[in-house]
Amino acid sequence: MAAVSSFFRVKPAPARRAGFAHYLIVAVLILAVIFYAMPIYVMVVNGLKSKSYMTLDQMWHLPRGLAGNGFPAAWDALSPNLMNSFKIAIPATIVSAMLGALNGYLLSKWKFRGSDLIFTLILFGMFIPYQSILVALIQTLQWLGLYGHWYGLVVVHIIYGIPICTLIFRNYFANVPNELLEAARVDGAGLISAFFQIMLPLALPAFVVVGIFQFTNIWNDFLFGVTVVFDPANQPITVALNNLSGTNSVDWTVVMAGAVLSAVPTALLYIFLGRFFIRGLLAGSMKG
């Protein structure tokens, strides 16, 4: 995790660094910030506008006051789907994190013949295009009576979350010294009690990383949401937002406000717990 902490390393203030090159760098970075923030500006500003003021040539203007109808209308249209997304993402995140913790512990501290190969076969599951499992998935969910319901999506996200959660926990536990486990075993702890008494308490940071990263992944899913759930009342926020955006009769200030609403939970996690999010991101690319 040395690489991760370096992302946040605060560089010492330069002793004497000025000149044209330095100002050029700062200027380029300011332009970059404007570019990266621009779509966010478009969403927020237009979400705040009122339909009566809103014409296409005013897209870049600031709103006149905060009394626009965008957010109230978007809330009315989308709040049930926001709740669905919470109902899907929270349990799915918790269960796949627990499975990942167990798998990661076993695959790092209790290796057996072929366990590295099994780990690699599990990992492959996080890279596949999910289009290539959809036909069988939908048939299976129908057979299990889970098709078309938000709780079917919970099951789907738990299973397809196993690879990434296993990866993050395996890399985390691999860095826990074996001596800790040995000491516990000398004291008579078995495989399971060592997991609960020694490893789980140590794994709190990994749980935060996996929790944030998986919550974000599940919240942002669209493909499973749109194919597994057909009933609009059961659909997650991404699907509902896309439906809203595709309806021509809907005022587009409402669509922009809806886009902001759909982003709020993951944006808040990113703003307040960004460093854990980045750990998940870097661990997900296997350079833990």
Binding site: A2, A3, S6, F7, R9, V10, A13, P14, L29, V33, F35, Y36, A37, P39, V42, M43, L56, D57, M59, L99, L102, N103, W110, K111, S115, D116, T120, L123, F124, F127, I128, P129, Q131, S132, I133, L134, V135, A136, T140, Y160, I162, P163, N178, L181, E182, I192, W219, N220, D221, L223, N242, V255, A259, S262, A267, Y270, G274, L281, L282, S285
Partner: protein, 346 residues
């Protein structure tokens, strides 16, 4: 990485368990506890892929489920590769992947190097650049759809900023690209390519750059270049400062130091970034679906959208499955060597 200390600790652990007579139990406990996850992945990943592969060579081309094999076996694949739309999709994937990788990898590296230069508020700048990565492609696609709408969006911004007034001053017309509504395919190479490879004459696809793909690529690079930047910043942090100082003492300029020393040292990061972003690009679906969909004349259609359309629109399950198998194979070509290398390092 099974080091000597791991082997030794395993021996000690084994010894401890032998004394307690638990070894037979615990040897089987680890695979036993892994079994539920292993089973879930075996079924939901590998078995399901197998089923899709079967459907792709079956006669299940309508609403009525029919798993009888088609004759010839690869008929569906042959039909698909003969379609102009699928050929367009393959072209679009190549164009999108090349443009998207160029923009996000070079952009990410460039931003990471700039942020490595003792600039004020660099933490804030990093956070802003990586922020889009935390949002869903649907959220951002909805916004980009309006930004690249030719009636408003960037074209309106050109007006607001006075760019078009300035151009009019010089007697030039306003900049009004059609963006996501542009059906043109520029820089077509069918004719020169046909002279070298005669079979190209049988292709329906216009081999060139579909203009509507450009705004889509910009949106994708906007969203994922932060990932490349974060990876490069992590890598830059592991390069000792002494190395750069030594290079500077030898008279190298900053540019030379980066080009000759730092960037080559970042090669493992570059490989990871390329592999991850290529596989994202081969799978791209949500962003394009929310932003444009198929686009004018399939200008922005990609395999992900094709599969969705064929399976859930037309209910031609064999065709959709065949397309998804091509996606899977393309991803596997990129990912399997990468995973195999990781396995060796375990």
């Amino acid at each position: 990485m099974a080091t000597a200390s791991q082997v030794r600790s395993q021996e000690i652990a084994d010894l401890a368990t032998v004394r307690r007579g638990r070894i037979s139990l615990e040897r089987f406990l680890s695979p036993l506890l892994l079994a539920p996850s292993m089973l879930a992945i075996a079924v939901f990943v590998y078995l399901f892929i197998g089923f899709t592969a079967w459907v792709s060579v079956s006669q299940w081309g309508t609403n009525a489920r029919n798993l009888a094999l088609s004759n010839p076996l690869l008929k569906t694949y042959a039909d698909m590769f003969g379609q102009t739309r699928w050929q367009d999709d393959l072209r679009n994937t190549v164009v999108f992947t090349v443009l998207f990788l160029a923009m996000s990898v070079l952009g990410g590296l460039f931003l990471a190097i700039l942020l490595d230069q003792h600039v004020p508020m660099s933490g804030f700048i990093r956070s802003v650049i990586l922020f889009p990565y935390a949002l869903s492609f649907i959220t951002t696609g909805v916004a980009w759809r309006w930004i690249f709408n030719p009636q408003t969006g960037v074209n309106q911004l050109f007006n607001d900023l006075g760019v078009n007034a300035l151009l009019a001053h010089f007697g030039t017309g306003p900049i009004q690209p059609a963006w996501i509504t542009d059906p043109n395919v520029i820089w077509q190479i069918n004719e020169p390519l046909r002279r070298v490879l005669p079979f190209v004459a049988g292709w329906h696809v216009k081999l060139g750059i579909p203009m509507a793909m450009v705004p889509v690529t910009i949106a994708a690079a906007w969203q994922l270049s932060g990932f490349a930047m974060a990876m490069y910043l992590a890598g830059l942090g592991t390069i000792p400062g002494e190395l750069k100082e030594a290079s500077a003492l030898d008279g190298a300029t900053t540019w030379q130091t980066y080009r000759k020393i730092v960037i080559p040292m970042l090669k493992p990061i570059t490989i990871s970034v390329l592999v991850i972003l290529t596989h994202v690009s081969l799978k791209i679906f949500d962003l394009i679906f929310a932003m444009v969909g198929k686009g004018p004349g399939f200008a922005t259609d990609v395999p992900g959208i094709y599969v969705f359309d064929k399976m859930f629109g037309a209910q031609q399950y064999n065709l959709g499955s065949a397309a998804s198998m091509v996606m899977l194979i393309a991803v596997a070509v990129v990912i399997v060597p990468y995973l195999a290398r990781q396995l060796k390092e375990l």
